[in-house]
Symmetry: C2
DNA sequence: GCTTATTATATCGATGGTCGATATATAGAG
DNA sequence: CTCTATATATCGACCATCGATATAATAAGC
């Protein structure tokens, strides 16, 4: 699909993290900290993000316009950055879903052939 | 399960590569170059190993006794190193299969919730 | 009112594993 | 006798994640 780097063994984790973040954001606008909480809850604690991992990814996704971030004031001094999926982000997410399905089908078929 | 490091986002690629190698070896003894060819064939070209990736992994798996390697002479001067799964390797492979299934089930359920 | 925990974003150095290149050598094809 | 395929091995560059650290506002507990 146009514009997206293919899913390869070498970038599994990167694509995995990005796809999860986009899927969480697909529900509606959300700030970083909230994404991390949602992720932990929805995966039953299986997937967790260090914020040292999460924030750089958000910045990168924003930079390449896969998501859009807007600062919103929250109280007199506090502010939060709310992210939403762009149209590109939506396409990227759908593409990721199909890539992962194909990838895992092939992977599991090889693994299960070897299983005892 | 005892002795095996859990499957986490941070070590996806590593576990992915190891699981594939073990699954290929589950068919019977094989040398490194042969593993790479089998992999490409069985995945329809989707999974490929650089030998700069493959050999270090084989050495590591051998060192931790997940696989066992034996040098066998092949002609007057040539020799090849043939690997087989150990009992530990067998257990590791079965464990990997169940970990990956659980992991991907959760992952895809989150992704598909976001899909349009 | 004071202290602590929680919410919230951000950056940075260390770590670790893959990639691609390079090296070396034998066997087989033409 | 040259070229290609087979076969193993190592090394530096690269890159993304991890865990720690920093900063600050707000809510809760007492």
């Amino acid at each position: 699909m146009a514009g997206f780097e293919r899913l390869e063994a070498q970038n599994l984790t990167k694509n995995f993290n990005e796809a999860l973040i986009l899927a969480i954001l697909a529900r509606g606008e959300m700030h970083g900290y909230q994404i991390a909480l949602e992720m932990e809850e929805r995966s039953g604690g299986l997937f967790r993000f260090n914020h040292g991992t999460l924030y750089p990814i958000l910045h990168k996704l924003e930079k390449e316009k896969t998501i859009a971030g807007v600062w919103r004031p929250e109280g007199p001094k506090k502010k939060r950055k709310l992210y939403t999926l762009t149209r590109r982000g939506r396409r990227y997410l759908d593409w990721q879903a199909s890539e992962w399905r194909r990838f895992m089908e092939t992977f599991l078929s090889i693994i299960e052939e070897g299983e005892s």
